[in-house]
């Protein structure tokens, strides 16, 4: 009887807590989640908060997630930039990144920016940004 009660409780908890509660609350958390991976109906035009380095001739150099956000995880690096922009600390982040890339002699500046592209057209070869907003610019090695 006790065994049966345990088994039914575990099964009910799984269905109700793991299944129904996240569905009802519509919340993506841990370990309970609606598992919304790739589900959102997003637009093909996307804004990406990032940081780039600039060479003396003006060419843009893409930085790595570790250089941008101090983490190798892309989404966390993106989150670092977004949090800094929203929190009004883009300049502070810019200086931190400039410090990280200071060893590269060819780089003269870092920009923390939001770039907006048509993601599908990007892969068709059209890499003209729909919008490009620079939130902070700082010199490398200053």
């Amino acid at each position: 009887m006790r065994l049966s009660w345990r088994a039914w409780t575990a099964a009910a908890v799984t269905v109700l807590v793991v299944g129904a509660v996240p569905l009802g609350l519509d919340r993506d958390s841990f370990p309970l989640s609606t598992f919304p991976m790739f589900a959102a109906d997003i637009d093909r035009t996307q804004s990406v908060d990032t940081a780039v380095a600039i060479r003396a001739d003006g060419t843009v150099v893409r930085l790595t997630p570790a250089e941008i956000g101090g983490t190798t995880v892309v989404n966390q690096a993106a989150s670092v930039v977004t949090t800094a922009i929203v929190g009004g600390r883009a300049g502070e982040l810019c200086t931190t990144i400039a410090g990280r890339v200071a060893g590269d002699a060819g780089l003269v500046a870092v920009e923390v920016l939001t770039e907006r592209y048509d993601a599908v057209r990007w892969f068709d070869g059209d890499r003209t940004p729909v919008q490009r907003a620079v939130h902070a610019r700082c010199a490398v090695g200053s």
């Binding site: 039914w8 990406v48 893409r62 997630p65 993106a78 993601a119 599908v120 892969f123 068709d124």
Partner: protein, 324 residues
């Protein structure tokens, strides 16, 4: 009757029979070793990125789940200590040593470390399923066989029973529920756009674009797929169908195998096109509760043991040694 031999239930009494089906203790033990080993390897392989998190600015900390009430991130030393405790408890978990302590301790430690990992502004979904299954596995008698505890007790292996069967059923149920939720989420948030491939195309293109702009590596296939969106129409329908059809995994034989293979291929496809891997299902561990693992272990052990015995018998001088 064993767990894998039982047909799906339709009535409450048959549901009870299904849930409480008997299973050998070795089957649950095999799941303990498999799920525990996966989680220990996961902790070891992601330890460097976990350590990196301790250096992020405090403002970045966005606690979720049981850590939500924290005002700031826990000290880096505490996180490292939790990681060390989790790995040590994980080894005891796999070996089935001091199970009453090691089982719950590893489950809770893995859960806390994983919660910390996703508390930095991005909730990835790689550790939800192993964490949930570990929480159950650590609280059931999964070390009654194939464990150091069982060896220490020197008693004959316990008989098959429902106490080993229901945890296996519920472990499988957790896998099924998470897949069904993922399928429902696609219909809920993506609507019909998900089924005509447009949502998935935009997801693939946006993910690859973000990776490119953040200096990370994207899949070489993502660009081609984004510009040939028609390939995603059948892929979208199949993905949702596979996820919603997860309860098929409880059927026996070919139906179960087809579903497991389809779900696994779904993850292979995601990894190939988006360079996003879900290591738990890709490793097959997520689907292990649907199989009688102990039979495979015994078969492999028998073959290895037989080969070993044959090798020893074939060794020159063996007979002489034997006679010494």
């Amino acid at each position: 009757m064993t767990v894998t031999d039982v047909a799906p239930a339709l009535t409450p009494s048959r549901a009870g029979g299904w849930l409480l089906a008997s299973a050998p203790p070795t089957r649950l033990a095999a799941l303990r070793v498999l799920i525990g080993s996966y989680c220990v390897i996961r902790l070891l392989s992601t330890a460097p990125s976990l350590v990196q998190l301790t250096d992020l600015p405090d403002q970045q900390f966005a606690p979720v789940g049981v850590l939500s009430s924290l005002d700031g991130p826990p000290a880096g030393g505490l996180v490292l200590a939790a990681l060390v405790v989790a790995i040590a408890a994980g080894l005891a978990f796999v070996l089935g040593w001091r199970w009453r302590v090691a089982g719950p301790l590893f489950a809770v430690a893995f859960f806390l470390v994983s919660t910390y990992r996703v508390s930095w502004g991005h909730v990835s979904h790689a550790d939800h399923l192993p964490a949930l299954q570990l929480l159950l596995c650590g609280l059931v008698p999964a070390a009654d066989a194939w464990s150091l505890d069982a060896r220490r007790r020197r008693r004959p292996a316990p008989p098959d029973g429902s106490r080993y069967g229901w945890p296996i059923r519920v472990l499988g149920l957790i896998t099924v529920v998470t897949y069904v939720l993922a399928g429902l989420a696609k219909l809920r948030y993506g609507g019909m756009g998900w089924l005509d491939g447009e949502v998935l195309r935009n997801q693939v293109a946006s993910d690859a674009l973000q990776k490119t702009l953040l200096g990370a590596t994207s899949s070489p296939l993502s660009g081609w797929v984004a510009t040939h969106g028609w390939v995603l129409v059948p892929a979208s329908v199949v993905a949702v169908a596979v996820e919603l059809a997860a309860p098929i995994a409880f059927l026996r034989g070919r139906w179960r195998d087809v579903w497991v293979a389809s779900a696994w291929l779904l993850h292979v496809g995601i990894a190939a096109v988006m360079a996003i891997s879900f290591p738990y299902p890709l490793s097959g561990v997520a689907f292990a509760p649907f199989y009688a693992l102990e039979r495979g272990v015994v078969a492999v052990a028998g073959k290895v043991g037989g080969r070993g015995r044959k090798a020893r018998a074939d060794t020159p001088g063996r007979a002489a040694t034997k006679g010494d």
